[in-house]
């Protein structure tokens, strides 16, 4: 999932703001993906009746498979986006509203 690389190095003792910002962007992205994963697998695997507080066997197995499948989908979508050189379609708003800059 790490496709944001670093660029060059900085003298020890100083903070390179660009590098820190990149790490922050990656951190935000991982958090975003994790939250979507939690929510999606909860919807797929956990019954909303809440008769008990523990995950039962069926739910637990479902969650494990759900996470694995989500990662596979993440990979397939990433490959597809790369093969299409996408980004263009995605950033439509910014592009269409700021095309003149």
């Amino acid at each position: 999932m790490s496709f944001l690389g670093g660029r060059g190095s900085t003298p020890a003792g100083q903070v390179n703001p660009e590098r820190v910002e990149m790490a922050m962007q990656e951190l935000d992205m991982i958090t975003d993906v994790f939250n979507k994963l939690v929510s999606s697998c909860h919807n797929k695997c956990v019954s909303p009746r809440y008769a008990e507080g523990d995950l039962n066997k069926g739910e637990s197995v479902c969650i494990d498979r759900c996470v694995a499948k989500f990662f596979e989908v993440n990979k397939k979508v990433g490959e597809k986006l790369q093969s299409m050189g996408a980004g263009a379609a995605a950033t439509g708003a910014t592009q269409s509203a700021f095309g003149t800059l």
């Binding site: 596979e72 979508v77 299409m84 263009a88 379609a89 995605a90 950033t91 439509g92 700021f98």
Partner: protein, 89 residues
């Protein structure tokens, strides 16, 4: 959006900011796409591997969503241009 009132330094600053924002928007779109296609295409958790049917669904979903996004973007730009034309009359 009208940047003509900005001076050169401000425009340069905005360019950098917009570039960064486009990266963020792209990442956000990526995770939304994964979520959407996963939710639409994966409903069988008797196996942890993606079936070929699910995989095909995910590919089509990605493809279609990007085409959809592009079409909406084109219409959005037209409407925006119209609104601005109307506003400056």
């Amino acid at each position: 959006m009208d940047f003509s009132q900005m001076n050169a330094a401000e425009q340069a600053h905005m360019s950098r900011v917009i570039e960064k924002k486009q990266m963020q928007d792209f990442l956000r779109m990526y995770s939304n796409l994964v979520e959407r296609c996963f939710n639409s295409c994966c409903n069988d958790f008797t196996s942890k591997a993606l079936s070929s049917k699910e995989e095909q669904c995910v590919m089509n979903c990605t493809d279609k969503f990007l085409k959809h996004s592009e079409r909406v973007g084109a219409r959005f730009a037209e409407q925006n241009a119209e609104s601005m034309g109307a506003a400056s009359k």
